[in-house]
């Protein structure tokens, strides 16, 4: 019996090739999108799951508000990991790491290599993160203060094929480390990626400085919430002595008002998708994108499914005779439903095959945009295939159900006598389906435009400094740092080098934070420190709002001078900052060294657009490790070559490295841009599928109305008039779709924009544009069919009957 169904299914598809292609292609596109999104989500949710016991591992963090200044970061103090290990019976082990923020030079004999992602870790690190050791013993590899572990790739870079165990490398020209282990790259994704691990086990017993990352692994069966309570009560006792020493008050006093200081933990597996704080080790993913992609995939597949339903029912008339004959020959309704469902399932599986081909085609671009490394035959291949089969089957049954039931309900007598054209049932449903399709497409178009507007808004936002044509060069050695200010003239000899300066860090990096006292007030505030030299404001074109910049002539070396940013002044709540005195809180009041606030600088971004600007204080220093050069627009390459040549003469021990300042900053926007690109791709897909469906419907409608068209032409209708008649109904549907789309998009867009600290006002233009675009697309699609029908010979039309 099924053989008969399958035979008929294929022959029927072959006979109506255009519709079969539209259906199958549209469905294939929809399935391809679903598969890609599934693969992406599987990948994104697989983070950390390769570590043994990962379900019991947590990372700590702090959420605090102290005197109006907030902090919410996954950082912890130096002694915390050890406290976990020694004072809590619920803890299996804990570890502490400190990431190295820039690349480090590692030297072995004559080989000098820059390692990108180094980390200091204590001896229990590999107990929680069980890297596979090729050489060495995880239990002892990070004991002491000068052990180092390398990944296979780093080891190869430094040592070539030599077995590195026991060899000594020089780290950053400063310290010797003994190689105690070589590890393989981990088998799965993690929220960090390290190339090199240096042991650091000393503990600085100061609880108020949070610059490390601590991970704790609980014993089996321990309840995390109960543990958190214990942890908080224990640690709040620990910060008491430091609070008294540095803030001059007690913990109870401090947290009386609005202030609070709360330790937190987050499960390791949730970090990648749910932790979006400042000072993450590297940029994490975002659960929001997952939801959005799922939503879009559903929309796309909905649109494709609607096509299928629509085209099948529209063309039902052609199969009506067959239905009648089969019924007369003894088929029951159930048998007919089974037959038609078989057909739609077959179509779905053909589409699935095509979908996999499309997935292979799309993957490189997809990986490029989302910065993933997905490929079909990865570790999730079985799940992907099973998922695809289930979706396809479900799809074939679901999308095929309506046409199947519709077709099998035809009464034999009406269809066998040729009254097929009268069976135009389902017209209303078809209209509803088309409206749904175009609503979905319009939502996507509007969304896409708004996303791009928001992104370019961020791009063009005044970041407070000019980073184009500025290169940043890290200083690697002490002598270079000490003598740099004397070397500036060497570089400036080249007329294309406009200005040279140094600072203690650059955008994208993490600054230091200290507590500062304002003279004459009880207020102490945490401020970010930025040390700069005299040419800083000039080189980066940062504007002053009040007072003056640092000036070599006007200042003596014994008194500190400070420049605050706008936000700092606002937080201190003072009218005129210039002239007042400020001091770092050294901990004991007799050591307070007040300096003058000489100026207020306009706020500039350091951490990327999505963070608010923090209160900052700038000071002059010679201990600065990032140089930057503003160079002229012409001949940039040769200017950089010149700088490199001169630099290498001055700092021969380390190879010259540089990045463009605006690129460093631009990287922070990358995730949003990727998201936007993905959205664009999916939107285009959705539009294509909708247009295909509309094309199919339009050709069916034109065929339906052949007789009517013939009569009208005989009575004098012109081609444009006939075309208008045929397209009018479809245009109405698209307009209705837009009426639905606008409010839905408004709500979704408002929600998405609220994720940004700096957001555009809701624009009107995208809505209008999207409506026009939808209308034009529909018009073009339908007109083609309408034109064909309108120019046909009336004679042919009338003979039809």
């Amino acid at each position: 019996m099924f053989k008969n169904y399958i035979k008929v299914a294929f022959r029927s598809l072959n006979k109506n090739r255009t519709y079969a292609i539209i259906n199958i292609l549209g469905l294939a596109l929809g399935l391809a999108v679903t598969i890609l999104v599934f693969m992406f989500i599987k990948d994104e949710t697989s983070y950390e799951k390769h570590w043994n016991g990962y379900e019991r591992v947590y990372r700590t963090g702090i959420k605090a508000s102290v005197m109006g200044q907030t902090m919410d970061a996954p950082v912890s103090p130096s002694p915390m990991a050890n406290a976990f290990r020694t004072e809590f019976t619920d803890v299996e082990t804990a570890t502490r790491i400190n990431t190295v923020k820039q690349e480090i030079m590692v030297r072995y004999e004559q080989t000098k290599v820059y390692i990108q992602k180094a980390v200091h870790a204590d001896s229990t690190f590999f107990k929680i993160f069980d890297y596979e050791f090729v050489h060495g013993d995880p239990k002892t590899a990070l004991v002491g203060e000068n052990s180092i572990v390398l990944t296979e790739e780093s080891a190869r870079k430094v040592f070539g094929d030599v077995n590195p165990i026991g060899k000594i490398v020089k780290y950053d020209n400063r310290q010797d480390y003994i190689v105690k282990g070589i590890v393989k790259e981990p088998k799965g994704h993690s929220h960090f990626q390290f190339d090199m691990f240096m042991s650091r086990n000393t503990i600085r017993n100061y609880w108020m400085s949070n610059g490390q990352y601590t991970y704790v692994k609980l014993k089996e069966g321990v309840d995390a919430n109960a543990f958190l309570t214990k942890m908080r009560s224990n640690f709040m006792k620990k910060i008491e002595p430091d609070v008294e020493r540095f803030l001059g008050t007690t913990v109870a006093e401090l947290f009386k008002g609005e202030s609070f200081y709360e330790y937190q933990i987050i499960p390791l597996k949730d970090i990648h998708l749910h932790s979006i704080k400042e000072m993450e080790i590297q940029q994490n993913g975002n659960i929001m994108y997952i939801y959005v992609f799922i939503g879009i995939a559903l929309l796309v597949i909905l649109i494709a499914g609607i096509n299928f339903m629509n085209l099948s029912t529209a063309r039902a008339g052609k199969r009506a005779k067959e239905v009648g004959v089969r019924k007369v020959s003894g088929a029951s309704k159930k048998m007919l439903v089974t037959q038609f469902l078989t057909e739609s399932v077959i179509q779905s599986f053909i589409a699935l095959f095509l979908a996999f081909v499309l997935v292979e085609l799309f993957l490189p671009g997809f990986n490029n945009i989302l910065e993933t490394e997905l490929y079909l035959f990865n570790s999730h291949i079985i799940e992907t295939v099973v998922f695809s089969l289930i979706v396809t089957l479900f799809y074939g049954l679901f999308a095929g159900s309506y046409p199947a039931f519709f077709l099998s309900s035809f009464q034999p007598i009406s269809v066998l006598k040729g009254d097929v054209t009268k069976t135009n049932g389902g017209a209303l449903l078809r209209k509803i389906l088309v409206i749904t399709q175009f609503t979905a497409s319009t939502i996507l178009i509007i969304g896409m435009i708004i996303i791009f507007q928001q992104i370019s808004f961020l791009h063009n936002k005044d970041i407070g400094f000019k980073g184009d044509q500025v290169i940043v060069v890290p200083i690697q050695s002490d002598p270079m740092a000490k003598k740099f200010r004397n070397y500036k003239s060497v570089f400036l000899k080249n007329s294309n080098v406009v200005s040279v300066t140094r600072a203690s860090f650059y955008p994208g990096d993490k600054p230091n934070q200290n507590m500062y006292l304002l003279e004459g007030s009880k207020d102490q505030l945490p401020l970010w420190n930025m040390d700069v030299d005299y040419d800083f404001f000039k080189t980066l074109d940062i504007k002053m709002l009040d007072g003056r910049k640092f000036d070599r002539e006007k200042e003596s070396d014994s008194i500190p001078y400070f420049i605050l940013n706008e936000t700092a002044v606002k937080n201190f709540n003072i009218q005129n900052a210039v002239g007042r005195k400020l001091s770092i809180n050294q901990g004991s009041s007799d050591n307070t060294n007040y300096g003058n606030i000489i100026g207020v600088v306009k706020d500039f971004h350091i951490q990327g657009f999505n963070s608010e600007i923090r209160p900052m204080v700038l000071t002059i220093s010679n201990d600065l490790w990032f140089a930057s050069f503003k160079i002229a627009n012409e001949d940039m390459t040769s200017t950089i070559d010149y700088i490199e040549k001169e630099w290498s003469k001055l700092e021969p021990s380390h190879p010259f490295r540089y990045t463009f300042l605006d690129q460093k900053f631009g990287k922070l926007l990358r995730q949003q841009e990727n998201f936007g690109a993905m959205f664009l791709f999916l939107t285009i897909l959705a539009i294509i599928i909708s247009a295909m469906g509309l094309y199919g419907l339009a050709s069916y409608t034109a065929a339906q109305r052949t007789k009517e068209i013939g009569i009208r032409k005989v009575l004098g209708a012109s081609v444009p008039e006939v075309m208008r008649m045929l397209t009018k109904d479809f245009m109405k549907l698209v307009l209705v779709a837009n009426i639905f789309a606008w409010p839905i998009t408004y709500l979704l867009a408002k929600n998405w924009l609220s994720n940004f600290s700096y957001q555009i006002d809701m624009p009107i233009l995208p809505y209008v544009f999207a409506t026009l675009l939808a209308l034009i697309i529909a018009l073009i699609t339908v007109s083609f069919q309408a034109y064909k029908a309108a120019i046909s010979d009336p004679v042919d039309a009338l003979k039809y009957e």
Binding site: K7, K15, V328, G330, K333, I413, K417
Partner: protein, 231 residues
């Protein structure tokens, strides 16, 4: 075999009500060959549809092989029809996507006859009807006469006791038409009951009895004295 009593069929649209059959009553015996004649719109096709259980009457009774079937649900009607009635239509009504063999085989499939038996019966019937040489061709590749012969074979494959024919030669030229009528006569001689709707008195002359309909009612019934014998 068939007993109709006061059978009435009314077609309704939003505004118009038309009575297609008005309290029609007659009987047909096993083995009879009956023609139903009348002008366009007199209700012959409606009558045939009801006889074939493709439609339900408004009121009245229809006894088929001793059972009342007038108000059966579709499943019930389908079951009776499957086993007992074969149809021959004016416009052949073959399924274009199936070959000659598959078209003829179709009723056997729905009657759950196993594959080997199907093959044997279809081949045999094709030989009898004279289209075995076209077994794997599609309807579009056949002439009108050949298509109708396939349709006749399909109607016969389940060996139904009753054949209903609706203008069987309507779309055929005279020589092909005669061929089909010969086939139908052969069936009649073999004992099948045949009810045929026709315009053509030439065709009607092959039958035993002629019932004339006008405006939904029987106006006359006469036995055919001159039965054209098969040549």
């Amino acid at each position: 075999m068939i007993k109709l009593n006061e059978l009435t069929k009314i077609y309704r649209t939003d505004e118009v009500e038309s009575t297609a059959l008005n309290a029609v009553s007659f009987e047909i015996n096993k083995g009879e060959f009956v023609s139903i004649m009348g002008p366009s719109g007199c209700g012959k096709s409606t009558l045939l549809n009801i006889l074939g259980m493709l439609d339900k009457p408004e009121s009245g009774s229809y006894e088929f092989l001793g059972n009342e079937v007038a108000h059966l649900k579709e499943k019930g009607r389908s079951d009776v029809r499957k086993k007992n009635i074969g149809f021959i239509f004016q416009n052949f009504n073959l399924i274009d996507e199936l070959t000659v063999f598959e078209n003829i085989e179709l009723p056997l499939l729905y009657n759950k006859v196993p594959a080997s038996e199907r093959k044997q019966r279809v081949n045999q019937l094709m030989e009898q009807i004279g289209i075995a040489h076209r077994a794997s061709h599609f309807p579009q590749q056949l002439s009108g006469g050949q298509q109708q012969r396939v349709a006749v074979a399909r109607a016969l494959i389940t060996k139904p006791p009753l054949i209903l024919a609706d203008e069987p030669t309507g779309n055929l030229d005279s020589s092909h038409g005669n061929e089909v009528m010969e086939l139908i006569c052969d069936l009649h001689e073999a004992g099948t009951t045949i009810i045929m709707v026709t315009h053509s008195s030439h065709d009607a002359s092959y039958s035993d009895r002629i019932i004339n309909l006008l405006d939904g009612q029987i106006v006359s019934e006469k036995k055919n004295k001159l039965v054209k014998a098969a040549i």
